[in-house]
Amino acid sequence: MQKTTVVVIGGGATGVGILRDLCMRGVDAILLEQQDLAYGTSSRYHGLLHSGGRYAVKDAEAGKECIEENTILRKIGRHCVEQTEGFFARTHLDDEAFEGKWVEACAKVGIPTIPISVEEALRLEPNLSPKIKSVYRVPDAAIDGFRMVWQNVASARKYGGRVLTYTTVIGIEQSNNQVVGIKVRNTLTGEVSDIACDFIVSAAGSWAGEIAALAGINVNVQPDRGTLIAFNHRITSRIVNRLRPASDGDIFVPHGSITILGTTSASVNKPDDTVPNAKEVVELLNIGEALFEDIRSYRMLRAFAGTRPLYSADPNATGRGASRGFVTLDHAHDGLKGFVSVVGGKFTTYRLMAEKVTDLVCGYLNVKTPCRTAVENLVEDTSPALMAKARLYFPAYGAELAASRLGSEGLEKVIARIQEKPEKRQLLCECENVTMAEVEEAAADSTSYMISDVRRKTRMGMGTCQGAFCTFRSVGAVDANGLSWGKDTNVLFKEFLQGRWKGIRPILWGNVMREMELTRGIYEGTLNINGAIDNEGI
């Protein structure tokens, strides 16, 4: 039986933040994730590192936390952050009175807002609607959720942290009102096992209610579904927020060569209700038109949905009415010692949430080491020497991308693979500039069990063609290296393409339809990965 001091549940930003913090303070810890890392809400949002402006009016505390954490994450996580800055733009449809209130509230919590003229704003962002009325600059930034999670794990591993993915919690073991262990099931093999521990921290986000229920404790987390659209264009170089009370479809966030528009908000019963639909997409486009008039002429890549883990002590609060602040619940008050849930909150404040929870846990464990997660960078910078070496093997643009994706250590390993077999420098995913060597490296990681896991680590299959070409190549390359996880290759093809399909189905028109007919033509028409074989007829 495995043993550890603390089990952390949830492989999203908060969970990995807690794992890192615990390990940095010398506490032995294992993190459990029911799917892959960053499978949940941490990758299913717009990727905005909030300045806090969005919350300043309604929730000053959340606004203040945002601006403080924003400043910290720009430093410690700079390989995950694109320092774009942001605009708050009031359109002709929005209430002028709110503007004054907003400026005042931002000032109060320390969020700098700089007014600029509409002409200047249009010069900086020519695609913005000329009908906008006023614009402010704020210190928003874009942040890569996948990468942030990965780099936290990489850091935690250096301090001895362990991670088990595709591991779901099925029981919380207690003795004399004290946690003594946790029962888990591997969702891929079905194998059930126990882990002995002194402490359990649930950072399960939208699933926190389900985890607490295993111990007979009620935690009122209301999953709130938000749907977003990824466009295959950098429509704007800055984040653009609509200057009005937080509502649907009013944030555009650029990430590299794409832009994300979000979000909708609707209460749902299940935390994994994340299949977007065409109606939500059409609604988002209708709303988004107020900020970018040509929105319908931009090629969409996919739609996706996540569930915000809204928490309320009041069981009747839902949607944007619920607080976006976070709460640490020490279940000792519910009669079970050694069990803590952290609920609510948002990606921008994940580190702070982790610090507060870890403080609480360390208090119980009598660990006095102070938190250092705000001062130590997640990964080391890539040295100029290593970058020079990388440029020998990667396309010019790809070298920078690979370095920021992989970090120093990962980059070294990928370069070593290419040195051993030079043809592995070939781009397996042309859309996102991912080499064959990088796919193999990601596939060999102990937390990879299918091609989608490789995708989340490398961005392979996340560009324009959405897997039309790289699905075949990645399965082939992984299989040729004996890394196919004992799975039938047709199963691997289907798993990956079905994952891509989920986000394509709700936007199936225009060029997306064309691309899909190509993809189906290849995999179903030509490669026949789906068809039954008539053995008598051969």
Binding site: E423, L427, G510, G521, T526, L527, D534
Partner: protein, 415 residues
């Protein structure tokens, strides 16, 4: 004003076959082509009918034809015309020295690059599986640096197919040394084998890894030209049998077929206009008088007695999808589609059902003329062929090039 008998819009297999059949009838034909159609993407393998509703394999292409539903293009075209069209296609191939093997009464199960078998009807001789089926030992040959072909995957998966499970598989690699720091596709290897030096060098390299008498599965790289010279020379030098797989784009088998058909059309006096974007039509009294192309320089007007609309479906641009509706951009012909976009597609990308959106398209009569919702002919001298037709999912049922050939032929015969 020059007036042609027929203007064919679209340079894919449906358009090429329509033009071929029209010239056979002595018509003066202009073919307006935007690009090379989907032949060089989808491939030169002629699927006719592989799977029925529910994903059940059709016993033979011929049997499959009898079992399609009422809305299917094959139902409109009718069996005699389908048989004639296939015969006509094979005749052209024979005449041009690039003959195809197969017939409607036998499903050919051919190997794919994914290590599956796919049911088809007609294939070039480079995909003849006669020797493969007999062999006890099979060699799967890959090329170093060719990122679109993984021989070990094929060998492993063939072991799982009952009819192929008893065979022994050996995986071998040949390094064509083509990479020089850039990515290599099947087209690069095929062009290498097109040259005498390339072929000689390849034979030397292959001699080191394959034994005489072997049956060798390889990617589709046996030359880009529509003949069997590369295959014959390799087989003679090495004493082996080569079998090309169906594979991902760029499709060499499709390239060969297109080259051959274009050559045939030119020989037969068809005028081919490339890079022609047909933007609109002039219709008077239920008849199309002319179509207008828009190029970088100017508009051009093409007058004809009849028009064949073979410019593809969603992929080719013959149909445009918008939320809840489908547009046919040249004649603005009606396309019936669910206004609720959720009904367009299944939740599973791959299942035992065809995709509803794949069946959206133009409704036609048995002469391939477009119909309105009440079944009335909308344009008397416009005939529709290929992927813009309603009622079939080529990916699911494996019928793409079959429908292209049959409908292109039928359209030309109906003029």
């Amino acid at each position: 004003m020059r007036e042609y008998d027929i203007v064919v819009i679209g340079g894919g297999l449906a358009g090429l076959m329509a033009a071929a059949a029209a010239t056979k009838r002595g018509k003066k034909v202009t073919l307006l082509s935007l690009g090379s159609g989907t032949l060089t993407i989808g491939g030169g393998i002629v699927d006719v009918m592989g799977y029925l509703e529910g994903g059940i394999p059709a016993a033979t292409p011929s049997a499959g034809l009898l079992q399609v539903g009422d809305g299917h293009p094959y139902k409109k075209i009718g069996r005699p015309a389908i048989e004639e069209s296939i015969r006509f296609f094979k005749e052209i191939c024979e005449q041009e020295g690039y003959s195809y093997i197969g017939n409607l009464d036998k499903t050919q199960w051919i190997p794919t690059a994914a290590g599956t078998l796919k049911p088809t009807c007609l294939v070039p001789k480079t995909m003849d599986t006669t020797e493969l089926k007999k062999a006890d030992k099979v060699t799967v040959l890959g090329f170093d640096a060719l990122k679109d072909f993984y021989p070990s995957l094929i060998a492993k998966n063939f072991k799982k197919i009952p009819a192929f499970a008893q065979k022994e598989y050996e995986v071998v690699m040949v390094d064509p040394k083509l990479s020089e720091g850039r990515d290599v596709t099947a087209l690069d290897v095929a062009r290498w084998l097109d040259t005498e030096e390339g072929l000689a060098s390849c034979i030397e390299k292959m001699r080191n890894v394959i034994d005489s008498g072997s049956v060798v599965i390889i990617p589709p790289v046996l030359g880009t030209r529509p003949d069997y010279a590369v295959k014959e020379k390799l087989e003679k030098a090495l004493g082996c049998h080569f079998v090309e797989t169906a594979s991902v784009p760029p499709s060499i088998t499709g390239l060969r077929l297109r080259t051959m058909l274009v050559r045939y059309l030119k020989k037969n006096g068809v005028r081919i206009v490339e890079q022609a974007i047909v933007a609109k039509s002039i219709v008077e009294d239920g008849k199309c008088v002319a179509v207008i192309t828009e190029g970088v320089d100017r508009e051009r007007t093409y007058h004809a007695k009849s028009f064949i609309l073979a410019n593809g479906g969603f992929y080719g641009g013959g149909l445009l999808a918008e939320p809840g509706k489908v547009i046919e951009p040249i004649f603005n012909l009606p396309v019936e589609a669910p206004t609720d976009h959720e009904l367009w597609a299944n939740y599973s990308l791959f299942s035992s059902e065809a995709q509803p959106f794949a069946k959206l398209g133009l409704d036609v009569d048995e002469k391939m003329r477009p119909l309105d919702a009440d079944g009335k002919v909308l344009l008397n001298n416009v005939f529709v062929a290929g992927r813009n037709l309603r009622g079939y999912d080529f990916s699911f049922e494996k019928s793409g090039n079959g429908v292209a050939i049959a409908s292109g032929y039928q359209a030309a015969m109906s003029v």
